[in-house]
């Protein structure tokens, strides 16, 4: 298996850069976008294995981005990051898994690996 390509979407510059470094160290190939629109165009033009998207963003929020992604590619694993403790129900239904910012890199990486593993053998898996 080649390095899985992860698309990270977050409006926080520094946070996005640090997240990229963490995921790259864990063996992922990482693409970044600072807003939903950019993220969607990258998703359309690249082969993406999983998406890590921040919920609170100006313009299009993470929930909207996830909904579009799910339409375009129904089995794409989506990890929703949020600083809010609770995300809206409809967002939770769309995304594969969620994580709270500040949970730490270990949790993020674990959840992402679980998602990819569940997705790899028999298509889209429900490791939510």
């Amino acid at each position: 298996m080649s390095r899985p390509v992860i698309l990270c979407i977050d409006d926080e510059d520094l946070g996005l850069e640090i997240r990229k470094m963490v995921l790259e160290r864990e063996g992922f190939s990482v693409l970044t976008a600072k807003d939903g629109v950019t993220g969607l165009s990258i998703f359309d033009t690249h082969e993406i294995d999983a998406v890590v998207v921040d919920y609170a963003m100006p313009g299009m929020d993470g929930g909207q981005v996830a909904a579009i992604l799910r339409k375009r590619k129904p089995d794409i694993p989506i990890l929703m990051l949020s600083a809010y403790v609770a995300l809206p129900e409809e967002v939770m239904r769309v995304v594969s898994v969620s994580a709270t910012k500040g949970d730490g890199a270990f949790t993020l990486v674990e959840k992402l690996k679980d998602l990819l593993q569940a997705n790899a053998p028999e298509g889209r898996g429900g490791s939510r």
Partner: protein, 600 residues
């Protein structure tokens, strides 16, 4: 009966007896004149009678003297004759004079005179004979002389008789007149008495009737007055507010029970004392005595003052709202001051609770975005920690540390801004508005980004005021949130900070927050600053603007909400003017009850 009629009655009551008495006097005078005239006639008759008697005596004297001489031839015996002759002429002359107007008696008197002259002619002859020595007289001559004398005396007697008869008539006439006079006097007195009696009785009846009516009216008025006084008294006692009225020398004249209860003074003790003794107030903040009496007297209408602390007689303190108005007399002069106040201690406590609640609500609304703001750098720090744990390259470690520091700084900044909402210095401090607005925008950053609100920052440098930064943060957080919510997703909000040097006011700062929303509806305009008024339904407490205005006014400033004319920001514009002096300006300016002037 009116006053004019009453006077007329009084005048006629005085005049009528006078007129009647005058008439009576005239009648009496006339009668008196007549009686006098009769009396004079009696006197005249008496004098004539007396003179006639005198004349007769003189004639008798003459005859006696002549007889004596005839008998004695003694010339001394002739003396009475001679004496009488001289007097006789005088008497006759006087008689002639007295009866000159009476032709009958004059004729008789002339006959008497003639008879006397005849007799004198006889007497002269007789004397001549005697002197010629004829000792015995001529008998014929004597007889003739005797007849002459008899005639003379008869005539005198007749005339006298006539005079006496006349006198009797005159006396009778006089008596009759006196009787008439008495009768007239009696009758006119009785008549006058009756007329006066009837007239006076009639008028007295009228006057007493009118007096009775007046008395009844006066009683009625008095009853009405008492009733209206009681009504006023009851009203004053029923009023829930405290009320003190004092005269133009500021001495207490009236207090209602609420005022007596709040001040601790009974009306009996307070009456006549100076108002500031009974109604002792200090400023809530400075505890300086409030001296407003002169201001009140000068004001044209009622003036209200807030933030006063009433110190009762026993030292209890009440927070009061008060209003005062001058009492003017009919000429428009200030006759006193009426003071109305109420205990707002509980109300103020509730307001304070509401304000604290709103402060928490602001923080609550911010907490979600603040949590996000803090979790973002925390996430980075956690990730950096993960990277560093497995990193051996010192250069990379340094880089991660620097990044971690950067994110920590951001967390600190946000937590400081958050704490700034709560932490408050005890006294006003210098607040740089540019920095304050920047920190507010930092806290709101996430929220504004979520709503895709574009902020146009025009934060002029140097605008600074004395104040409480936490409260001012709360105000601007509120106003910017309002602007963003009004503008809606993708809207624009302009935040303008500038130094302000109003021509008619104190230098300070002007903060204008303009949005691109729909503006203010006219129907809402009047209610905007009222507590619990909200256009946001469940989302708003309705306290934001109310609390904001309270804070701005505490800082001596003004806040107004108008519709913007800027085409880029066509919504509502909130203009907040803050004087550089801050809360001190609010205290010094006595601006608590000054009319809100437009800011521009």
């Amino acid at each position: 009966m009116n006053l004019h009629q009453f006077r007329q009655i009084l005048v006629t009551t005085v005049l009528l007896p006078l007129v009647l008495l005058l008439l009576l006097a005239l009648v009496l005078g006339w009668q008196f004149q007549r009686t006098l005239r009769e009396q004079r006639r009696i006197d005249h008759t008496d004098r004539v009678t007396a003179l006639l008697n005198e004349l007769e005596r003189l004639v008798v004297d003459q005859e006696t003297g002549l007889r004596g001489y005839q008998l004695t031839h003694d010339p001394t015996t002739l003396e009475p004759y001679q004496n009488a002759e001289g007097a006789l002429h005088g008497t006759l002359d006087r008689l002639l004079y007295l009866v000159r107007d009476d032709p009958d008696q004059l004729a008789r008197l002339r006959q008497i005179r003639d008879s006397h002259e005849h007799w004198m002619g006889f007497a002269g002859k007789a004397l001549d004979n005697l002197r010629a020595g004829k000792m015995f007289g001529d008998t014929a001559l004597d007889l003739n002389g005797g007849q002459l004398m008899a005639t003379l005396r008869t005539r005198i007697g007749a005339m006298t008789q006539i005079e006496v008869g006349r006198r009797d008539e005159e006396v009778e006439s006089t008596n009759s007149q006196v009787r008439t006079l008495m009768a007239v006097l009696l009758l006119s007195s009785i008549g006058t008495g009756i007329v006066l009696g009837i007239y006076t009785q009639r008028n007295m009846r009228k006057v007493s009737g009118a007096f009775g009516a007046s008395l009844e009216e006066a009683h009625q008025r008095a009853d009405e007055l008492i009733e209206s006084r009681q009504w006023l008294q009851t009203t004053l006692e029923s009023v829930g507010d405290a009320l003190i009225a004092c005269n133009h020398q500021h001495r207490v004249e009236l207090m209602n029970p609420v005022a007596q209860h709040l001040t601790g003074w009974t009306l009996e003790d307070a009456k006549g004392r100076r108002l500031e003794t009974v109604f002792s107030t200090v400023d809530e903040e400075t505890r300086e005595p409030v001296k407003n009496l002169d201001t009140w007297a000068e004001t044209k209408g009622p003036a209200a003052t807030n933030h006063s602390l009433l110190i009762a007689k026993d030292g209890t303190e009440y927070l009061i709202d008060q209003s005062a108005a001058p009492i003017r007399d009919a000429k428009g002069e200030v006759a006193g001051v009426v003071l109305v106040f109420r205990d707002v201690t509980d109300l103020r406590r509730r307001e304070e609770a509401l304000m604290a609640h709103e402060k928490l609500a602001v923080a609550g609304r911010l907490s979600a975005s603040i949590a996000h703001e803090i979790h973002n750098p925390l996430d980075s720090v956690a990730n950096l920690h993960y990277l560093m744990a497995n990193e051996t390259d010192a250069a990379l470690q340094q880089r991660y540390l620097a990044m971690a520091q950067q994110e920590l700084n951001r967390t600190l900044q946000i937590s400081r801004a958050m704490l700034g909402l709560y932490r408050e210095p005890k006294a006003p401090v210098e607040v740089a508005l540019r920095e304050l607005l920047e920190s507010v925008l930092l806290l709101l950053d996430r929220q504004l980004k979520d709503q895709s609100i574009a902020i146009d920052r025009r934060l002029g440098e140097g605008a600074a005021v004395q104040g409480f930064p936490g409260e001012l943060r709360q105000v601007f957080t509120n106003l910017i949130t309002n602007g963003a919510e009004a503008s809606g997703r993708g809207g624009r909000v302009q935040v303008l900070v500038e130094s302000s040097f109003p021509a008619d006011g104190r230098p300070g700062a002007l903060v204008t927050i303009t949005d691109s929303g729909p503006g203010i509806q006219e129907a809402h305009q009047a209610k905007l600053f009222k507590p619990f008024f909200t256009t946001k339904g469940e989302q708003g407490t309705g306290l934001g603007l109310w609390v904001s205005r309270g804070i701005v006014e505490k800082h001596g400033g003004k806040i107004e909400l108008i519709n913007s004319t800027d085409p880029i920001f066509p919504g509502a514009a909130v203009r907040v003017y803050l004087p550089a002096l801050g809360p001190a300006a609010a205290l010094a300016g006595a601006g608590n009850y000054r009319a809100q002037q437009p800011l521009s």
